[in-house]
Amino acid sequence: MTPAGACDTCLRRTALIVMLSGRLDVEWRRRSVAARVLGLPDEDLLALAPEAARAAYERFDAGAARERAVGAGIVLACRCSPRYPERLRALPDPPAVLHVVGDPAALSAPDAVAIVGARRATSYGLDVARALGRGLSLADVPVVSGLALGVDAAAHHGALEGPAPTVAVLAAAPETPYPSQNRALHAAVAARGAVVSELPPGAPAFRWCFVARNRIVAALSLVTVIVEATERSGSLTTADFAADLGCTVAAVPGRVTTRTAAGTNGLIQTGAALVSSADDVLDLLAEATGRPRRVAARPPPPAALAPGLRRLLTAVEEGRGALGELAAGPEEARTVLAGLGELEFRGLIRRTFGGRYEPAA
């Protein structure tokens, strides 16, 4: 058993990578394949390092590093620790140490699903990501994502609506919410699952960190689902990593005229599975594990609705969400308005920013 979850060697390697961060951006582009850099042994990495870094490497104080981590509320798990998620060992360049805010056990779930996608997503993409996250969580499947704006955040939000833990893999320091807009989400994920990073507290984010993060997202999951990605999106690297690891890659189709659908539609064209609901993902998961498919716990069926309310709900579900689209005359409008109030009160529909109603689920 390694003390406090991480051994000196692994901590020293992590410190070396942080010292080399700036340099790695350059190396990264030169070798073009992620594994080639982060997979190098310490000695080769040292060859890239400036003189000062080498000295610091020699004088490395593992105790101080552990103290810093504990001070930041971080749990450590290194490659030599039993806490280290087995799935990560399949990577050619597994991270030396995982820095976890939250529960490290959440990382070792046998059937996690990654949901990633565009930051500048459309409302369609956000809705789908959220529905997928919720559906999987209701089936007790943990959702892994990157806590980025857009699809990632929506997936986390959805997952938090179900009972399962959710895991956010950050590019840099795990205790710092990045981007800062997702502060509340960061805290919620840490409380319900885990926020994890291969870099220690305080480490700044470099460009390579984001791609390196994607390999961890892919490796932690059995199935990787891409919701909206442009043709050159970083989300596609996650799909590449997943494919390299032999995991199932799936994508949500989009309108061919939408820019953020080009990447996902392209994935489907080249053989990724097409998913349109959490059920589809659960089928893929069953296929991958060979275990019987989990049944998503459905939200309790709504109490019986009066026929009028039922009709109204159906109309809203069909996209007729404005008062004028639901009522033909002034008298009817009052009934409709009252019915909408009733449905909203029961949590079946919700009033949006512009005053339209839409299904709540």
Binding site: T122, D127, G319, L323
Partner: protein
């Protein structure tokens, strides 16, 4: 010899008395105007000279000094032409000074001596009355407007010669009402019956009109938001006598009045979204009323709300809150009335394509929403989504005429007035939080529902008040003394506060 003529200068939407003093003495011929006169007033010298000579009077070839008092008020505009000419006639002995007894004079002169209408006649006539003057000499075109003020003899003259004849008592001025210019052709009033496919929205418009609630129309372009907004004045109650006077005075000062009788239709102002803050609430070195004041007792319609500049919208805060706007320019402080009903409209997203064809990213939408959810929305009680009308509805159904809706609105307003008159208010939208507690008596079950809504929909305290306010109006429309749960439910369906925006955005 010296002469003094009483006249008035328009100051904001009221008037201030101004004395025109003329002094004629021996010396090199000269004509000087002093007393903080604007360029347009100094130009009066040339018009007066020509008008006098062309009307058969003598222009004294002596040293003429004209003073406009009080000297601290900047005098602007051509309205001082006639008083100046009359002062010269008195000072040069061509007209008896007694002819000016208790008389105010206003009007612009042409070179031929003809009189032209000037702005703000009603405000000036009221000023004359206030100062105890008995006669007012004005150009013919605005005589009917001046005659709106009781107990004031209005002399409506066509030209300088006639004006002098009236002052001398040599001719009898015609009855001012006969001088009213023909009513300008009023386009057929817009009626709700012309609107197809939006019948379902009529109750919402009715509530907004009945309670004077500010209204926000939200929907894709081309769905009829503007069409609905333009028909709102047709369902608002008719102007009361007092309101009509106020509106006429403001329109006259703003140059929108044709000089006839009282304005009878509620104003509808729809400024373009490029308007500046001072254009909207009034301003300028000599503050003039802005669109908010021109819409007093009527409707101010802001189409494409998100396109308005932030400072312009911020400037509307005080007018909305207080019903008047205070403008400070230099050493001048001026208040303009601004009790209008705000109707705003905007697209659901920046691209304006609507739900299905929208290509905006979540970030674009969030930015759009942020622009809209500024301080202005705090004062809007009713939010209405306007969808695309269904094709069949466009063809078939007939909307009720405005008059039918208006009847209900008027009845509801009367109930409100009975309740709110002691507080000097006219409609529910003007109730403060304290009055709301006092007057929006809700049944226990309605209160329970409201509190549940409060918890479930995360209604803010302000949103809570807005729902109750609108519910009170719904109860008034139903002729119900207290607010019932059904009113709360309906009001909640029109509330502005939406569930938190997609939190992922």
């Amino acid at each position: 010899m010296i002469a003094r003529v009483s006249t008035f200068a328009v100051d904001g939407v009221t008037s201030r008395r101004v004395w025109v003093e003329a002094d004629i003495r021996q010396g090199l011929p000269a004509f000087t105007v002093v007393g903080l006169a604007d360029k347009s007033v100094r130009e009066a010298r040339e018009r007066v000279r020509a008008a006098l000579v062309n009307s058969g009077f003598e222009f004294p070839a002596k040293r003429i000094t004209v003073n406009l008092a009080p000297a601290d008020l900047r005098k602007i505009g051509p309205g001082f032409d006639l008083p100046l000419a009359i002062a010269l006639l008195v000072a040069s002995g061509q007209l008896d000074a007694d002819a000016l007894d208790a008389t105010a004079i206003i009007g612009e002169l042409s070179l031929t001596g003809e009189l032209r209408a000037t702005r703000g006649t009603l405000a000036i006539a009221e000023g004359a009355r206030r100062h105890g003057l008995r006669r007012l000499l004005v150009p013919r075109g605005v005589a009917a407007e001046a005659a709106l003020v009781p107990e004031l003899d209005v002399l409506g003259a066509a030209d300088l010669e006639e004006a002098v004849a009236f002052l001398r008592g040599a001719a009898e001025p015609p009855e001012p009402h006969e001088l009213a210019p023909p009513e300008p052709e009023v386009p057929a009033p817009l009626d709700l019956a012309d609107v197809r496919g939006h019948n379902g929205l009529i109750p919402a418009l009715e509530v907004a009109a009945a309670g004077g609630h500010n209204l926000y129309l939200h929907g894709p372009p081309g769905t009829g938001k503007t069409m609905l907004a333009r028909r709102l004045p047709s369902i608002l109650p008719p102007l009361t006598a007092g309101e009509a006077i106020e509106v006429t005075r403001i329109q006259s000062v703003g140059g929108l009045h044709h000089g006839g009788g009282l304005v009878s239709v509620r104003p509808f102002r729809a400024p373009h979204h490029t308007i500046s803050a001072s254009g909207l609430v009034g301003g300028g070195s000599q503050p003039t009323p802005g669109e908010a004041t021109l819409a007093h007792h009527g409707v101010l319609f802001l189409d494409e709300l998100s396109e308005f500049a932030r400072p312009s919208l911020e400037a509307l805060r005080q007018p909305l809150e207080d019903g008047h706007v205070t403008i400070v320019r230099g050493q001048k402080v001026m208040a303009f009335p601004t009790r209008f009903m705000l109707v705003a409209a905007s697209n659901p997203c920046p691209c304006g394509m609507g739900d299905d064809d929208c290509s905006c990213s979540a970030a674009d939408l969030a930015r759009h929403h942020r622009r809209l959810s500024g301080p202005l929305l705090d004062r809007i009680d009713v939010l209405l989504a306007v969808g695309r009308p269904v094709a069949g509805a466009l063809r078939d159904e007939q909307a009720p005429p405005s008059s039918a809706v208006r009847e209900r609105v008027v009845a509801a307003r009367e109930r409100q007035a009975a309740r709110l008159e002691p507080h000097g208010l006219a409609c529910n939208a003007q109730m403060s939080a304290r009055l709301l507690r006092e007057h929006a008596a809700a049944t226990p079950s309605a209160m329970r529902l409201l509190y549940e809504l409060h918890d479930r929909h995360r209604l803010s305290a302000r949103g809570h008040g807005r729902v109750l306010r609108v519910a009170r109006t719904l109860a008034d429309l139903d002729e119900s003394a207290s607010v019932g749960p059904e009113h709360i439910t309906l009001a909640a369906g029109l509330r502005l506060e939406a569930a938190a925006l997609a939190s992922a955005a």
